[in-house]
């Protein structure tokens, strides 16, 4: 399974006037593609801090003490704010807990939804243009280089081919866009009409005039060469008749006309679309008129024409270029591995030399840069980010050497003054804040890790050299060019953004989206507001969705709708979801895997079935039994007390003080993670082989028995 996100040993603290609060204390987890990971715990357990660290929006007084968050080969804790802009909201999106405070109260919903789309649209357009031009230029160069035997004539042919790609791709996109607009209009009109016809037959339509007119307008928009073509004139006359029936308020006539229109649209929607890519080429370069054939044959003819005249040649050349470029880069990679091994010793010394380190870094960076195969579509992010990561570690190290002593001295001075004042019994203003000291050893090991990681990565790549599938890669290249070309042509206009926003609003279940588009957040109910926040999060098509208690403020029906929505979108777009909540019922619904957090640590980690049926940590038991379900009659088992103060985290197990199964060792030493099964881990001394055997509380065993019973009944 593809790992989308890995969190390793993440430790986050907050500096406050009372001292350092250790919010997250070394947590590890990973997130697979298309999976939901739920993080469960009480408020203050560090759930939200973890999610904010992933998104790089921690508060200003936070200190990231260590660890890594690896996304797409990058360490999110190390990259610059500029680089984060490309990820935050675009690749990793977040749904916040309180919809009211995450929406701007004085800006209309529509603008808030489209804002990002338009901004990103412009940026994407620029970027696509750049990508397309760069890549095609590079491809052209490599194609000519790889071509044997070399001749000026052949080179000119290749250059022309590359230019042609751009030209006919534009025609293709214009056609396809027009088709998409018409098709969407047809499908929207069809569903609107269905609703209207149903309501007219029940005799309870609201805003009839407006809605009928809109549906008819959409139906009219659907007339296109490839959607409603033959019936176009019939459709136009039907629309006119329906309008007349509406103005004379002849209901039966209107209903009849509307259903006729719907029949036409349904028929149009069932048609297979032509192959626009091939059609674009045909229309641009072929001299003959378009063949008049049924769609399947029509497509086949076009495809063949494209392949014969252009595509097969292009693919052959492109593949050659790819192989040529890859071979060149493998040689460089081998060289880099040697260099890395050679210069590793520079960073192993007890005391690093600044000049030497920077020089080595420069040298290595240049070599690594050379070794990157720029023809690869999926960028090798470890290699790309190597030099920046190494340099930032080096800077951190030498900054630390310079500043640590000063900070410590300063702190000691203030501390002494504070204590003197206290001893005299005078009033003091606040407590001195501990110095922020950089752990030099940790930084040095991080440097070495960067080097080792790249070495291992390159070695793995060279080992997998033979298994590379150049055919698939060539096709990916063509797709990449297609996608970027579409980015160039697809300008996100306000109107387009609006249409997309309205579609998104409908997708997340906001009725009358068109009307709602121009309203302010305060005009929406809590559930609706949360839907808008979800729509905004989804507007950028993210890879990872972080949901920070998205349904806590909502009631059951809305909650259930929102969960269904997230689940549906997750499946459709293969999203990875991190779901943060304290409601175990919701978790059971959503999660594939669950991490239970307490006092900044993960205390239990496993699949949903592991946690609910086989839970092993006393804290999980307490959480489960403090929640009533529909069959609970006995007194609830509330967890006594409150979570510990994380300025002074307990020496032993943080949950010991509230745990009725606590043993002596719980107060003295922190339990390690015990593995229970392949997927199930828990950090409690109860799992130690020497520990006394403790049964789960009766409430939980009863409940599990009841669940099993119910499962049998249902089956």
């Amino acid at each position: 399974m593809e790992k989308k996100l890995q969190v390793k040993n993440l430790t986050v603290s907050f500096r406050t006037t009372d001292g350092k609060v250790q919010a997250v204390r070394g947590i590890n987890f990973d997130l697979n593609k298309g999976e939901t990971l739920a993080i469960v715990g009480e408020s203050g357990s560090g759930k939200s801090v973890t999610s904010k660290a992933i998104l790089g929006i921690l508060a200003g007084n936070s200190i990231i003490e260590g660890g890594e968050i690896i996304y797409d080969g990058k360490d999110l804790l190390k990259i610059s704010e500029e680089e984060f802009h490309a990820i935050r909201g675009d690749k990793i999106a977040m749904i916040f807990q309180d919809p009211m405070s995450s929406l701007n109260p004085i800006v209309k919903i529509g603008r808030q939804l489209t804002e990002a789309m338009i901004l990103k649209g412009k940026a994407r357009q620029r970027e696509s243009r750049k990508n397309f031009n760069n890549y095609i230029a590079m491809l052209e160069k490599r194609m000519i280089e790889a071509n044997e035997p070399k001749s000026a004539e052949r080179a000119a042919g290749i250059s022309k081919k590359c230019k042609d790609f751009d030209t006919f791709e534009r025609t293709h996109l214009k056609l396809e866009n027009a088709y998409n607009v018409a098709y969407e209009a047809a499908s929207d009109a069809s569903s609107d009409l269905e609703e209207l016809i149903f309501e007219i037959s029940k005799n309870s339509v609201k805003d009839m005039n407006e809605r009928v007119k809109r549906a008819l307008g959409l139906a009219a928009e659907s007339i296109n060469d490839y959607v409603v073509k033959e019936d176009a004139s019939k459709l136009t006359s039907l629309i006119e008749e329906a309008k007349q029936a509406l103005s004379s308020s002849n209901m039966s006539q209107l209903e009849k006309k509307l259903s006729e229109i719907q029949d036409i649209l349904k028929k149009a929607l069932a048609l297979t679309p032509p192959n626009f890519f091939a059609l674009g080429y045909y229309l641009t370069f072929a001299k003959e008129p378009l063949p008049n054939l049924p769609t399947e044959k029509f497509n086949a003819v076009l495809r063949k024409y494209l392949d014969d005249h252009y595509m097969l040649d292009f693919i052959k050349d492109a593949k050659q270029a790819l192989i040529y470029s890859a071979d060149a880069s493998y040689k460089e990679k081998e060289k880099v591995i040697e260099l890395l091994k050679k210069y590793r010793s520079v960073f192993e010394k007890e005391h690093l030399d600044k000049k030497e380190c920077l020089e080595t870094c420069k040298l290595l960076s240049a070599e690594v840069d050379k070794s990157i195969d720029r023809m690869e579509i999926t960028k090798d992010s470890i290699a790309y980010t190597f030099s920046a990561a190494l340099k930032s570690e080096i800077n951190k190290y030498f900054n630390g050497i310079e500043n640590n002593a000063k900070e410590e001295k300063n702190f000691a001075k203030r501390q002494a003054k504070y204590q003197a004042m206290q001893a005299k019994g005078k009033e003091t203003n606040g407590v001195p804040i501990p110095a922020s000291i950089i752990d030099l050893d940790l930084v040095r090991t991080d440097m070495l890790r960067q080097i080792d990681r790249l070495t291992a990565h390159y070695e793995a790549k060279i080992a997998a050299k033979k298994e590379r599938d150049y055919d698939a890669e060539t096709i990916a290249v063509v797709d990449y060019l297609k996608a970027n070309a579409s980015g160039v042509v697809n300008k996100v206009t306000k109107r387009k953004a609006k249409n997309r926003a309205i579609k998104l609003m409908e997708e997340v279940g906001i009725p009358e989206a068109r009307k709602r588009y121009n309203q302010y957040p305060f005009e929406f109910s809590g559930g609706m507001r949360q839907r808008i926040v979800i729509a905004i999060a989804l507007a950028a098509d993210p890879d990872i969705l972080i949901c920070d208690e998205p349904t806590t403020a909502l009631d059951v029906t809305i909650q259930s709708q929102i969960l269904e929505l997230i689940n549906r979108i997750k499946e459709k777009k293969q999203l990875s979801v991190i779901f943060i909540t304290h409601d175990l019922g919701v978790v059971a619904n959503m999660a594939d895997r669950i991490a239970v957090m307490y006092a900044g640590k993960i205390v239990e980690y496993g699949t949903a079935a592991d946690i609910f049926y086989e839970s092993a940590h006393p804290y999980t038991w307490a959480l489960l039994s403090s929640m009533p379900d529909l069959d609970t009659n006995e007194k609830l088992d509330a967890i006594p007390g409150t979570p510990p103060n994380m300025i002074y985290p307990p020496v032993g197990d943080a949950f010991a003080a509230r745990n009725k199964y606590a043993m002596k060792i719980d107060f003295e030493r922190q339990p390690p993670m015990f593995q229970i099964s392949d997927s199930h881990y828990a950090a409690t001394w109860l799992l130690h082989p020497d520990a006394p055997k403790v049964d789960r509380p009766k409430g939980i065993t009863d409940r599990i028995a009841r669940m099993k019973e119910r499962g049998k009944q249902d089956a």
């Binding site: 009480e42 408020s43 309501e199 029940k202 005799n203 309870s204 109910s525 809590g526 559930g527 403020a553 909502l554 009631d555 059951v556 029906t557 809305i558 909650q559 259930s560 709708q561 969960l563 269904e564 304290h582 409601d583 175990l584 019922g585 919701v586 978790v587 059971a588 619904n589 999660a591 949903a608 079935a609 609910f612 307490a622 959480l623 489960l624 403090s626 929640m627 009533p628 379900d629 529909l630 609970t632 009659n633 007194k635 609830l636 088992d637 509330a638 967890i639 409150t642 409940r703 669940m707 119910r710 499962g711 249902d714």
Partner: protein
């Protein structure tokens, strides 16, 4: 059990409309129910369905539009809209009648109409009086009781004893004058952070009601405050602290203490656990349960978390868009839900059981699809003893059949 049969609160045809520009928002529309002494009555429904408005209308935070609220048999809330509507309707009817009637009967009809209008206007006046002055009547009664108790004693006593009695009498009299009937209904709010004044200490917050009522003796106040703190599971030292120094569960406990210090008979708990963590939720529910046993409280529990409501309430009313759609005992509601909205609500409850959750299918409620009210409008009908459903005759027969079969 006969104590349970005594009706503490009766709500009749309660309507609460809000003005929204030109139109009106019917937040609560024709809701009727009784709450018996000592029971917990749950009110559920999605947000915006009027649960909270119902609670707030009962405690007279709003002037109700129409309908009556009786607390301990005294009308504490009365709306006037229904009488006005009756007058308008009668006027129209009589106008038509008069137009078509003979000359000789016209005078009679006119006087009939006038009599009817006068009757309705009297009703309006009485409703106005009850809405505003019911407390006055109640406090007058209390004053009379105090006078009756003390005056003969004072006359008999003499010297120092007399002075002491007089002092006591005056203090009691102030309290009696200031006592409001509605102080016997208290409210616990949803958000413990927003409902506590951040600049008052816990002692001030809890004692505020007593002070308003005219209690001046600091010792008595302190004693009562400590007693309440004890009752809700906080310690005396907490009295001097400020709300921000407490955790969410403890804050909600302060809210509870503030409500029960007035020694109320009815508590309106407006989503008291919705904003809390699971573990703290359990603490607060356990606390309310204990208090209910200790003090014999009656509770109107407004919430949207159905598993909590089921655990806590004796009877449950389900609301949908300002209307009560089903009302019955909590077991009956979960075993035999009849109204399609109730069914949809029950199908949305998430349970801590992944296997079940994977299979759970939410039933959606579309009023237009689920009901056919083109012939007959629905009314509240008793399908089985104690089980009320909003339905028309056709549905009524269907529901009865379903109940018989099960």
């Amino acid at each position: 059990m006969h104590e349970k049969e005594e009706i503490l609160l009766r709500v009749e045809h309660l309507c609460q409309y809000f003005k929204m520009g030109k139109s009106e928002l019917k937040a609560v529309d024709d809701v009727s129910f009784d709450i018996k002494k000592g029971e917990v009555f749950g009110l559920v429904g999605e947000s915006g369905c009027g649960k909270t408005t119902t609670g707030r209308s009962i405690i007279k935070l709003y002037d109700i539009t129409s309908g009556n609220i009786y607390f301990k048999g005294i009308r504490t809330g009365a709306g006037r809209r229904s009488y006005q509507i009756a007058i308008n309707k009668a006027k129209k009817e009589y106008e038509a009648k008069i137009a078509s009637a003979k000359e000789s009967e016209k005078a009679k009809l006119k006087s009939e109409l006038e009599a009817f209008i006068a009757e309705q206007k009297k009703q309006i006046a009485s409703a106005k009086f009850d809405q505003k002055k019911c407390d006055k009547e109640y406090s007058e009664k209390r004053v009379a009781a105090v006078k009756e108790k003390y005056l003969p004693q004072i006359e008999k006593a003499d010297g120092a004893k007399k002075a002491e009695l007089q002092k006591k009498y005056k203090a009691e009299l102030v309290k009696a004058k200031r006592t409001r009937l509605t102080t016997q209904i208290q409210m616990i709010f949803q958000d413990p952070i927003a409902s506590l004044d951040p600049r008052m200490t816990v002692r001030e917050i809890i004692a505020e009601g007593l002070i308003i009522q005219g209690e001046k003796d600091q010792e008595v106040i302190d004693k009562k405050v400590y007693e309440m703190l004890d009752l809700v599971g906080l310690v005396r030292e907490h009295a001097g602290r400020y709300p921000h120094e407490f955790s969410g569960g403890q804050r909600q406990r302060i809210g509870v203490a503030r409500a029960i210090i007035m020694n109320p008979e009815l508590i309106i708990a407006d989503e008291p656990v919705s904003a809390l963590d699971v573990s703290i939720q359990a603490q607060v529910i356990n606390l309310l349960n204990e208090l209910r046993e200790k003090m014999g409280l009656t509770i109107l529990f407004v919430a949207h978390d159905l598993s909590v409501v089921k655990y806590f309430s004796d009877r449950i009313g389900v609301m949908y868009f300002g209307k009560m759609v089903e009302l019955t005992t909590s077991d009956e509601l979960f075993e035999h839900p009849l109204h399609p909205y109730t069914k949809s609500l029950l199908s949305a409850i998430p349970l801590p059981d992944p296997e079940y959750e994977k299979k759970r299918k939410r039933i959606s409620y579309v009023p237009l699809r689920d009901h056919d009210y083109s012939k007959e409008q629905p009314t509240m009908r008793e399908v089985a003893p104690g089980h009320f459903v909003m339905c028309n005759q056709e549905e009524f027969d269907k529901y009865q059949k379903i109940l018989k079969e099960s």
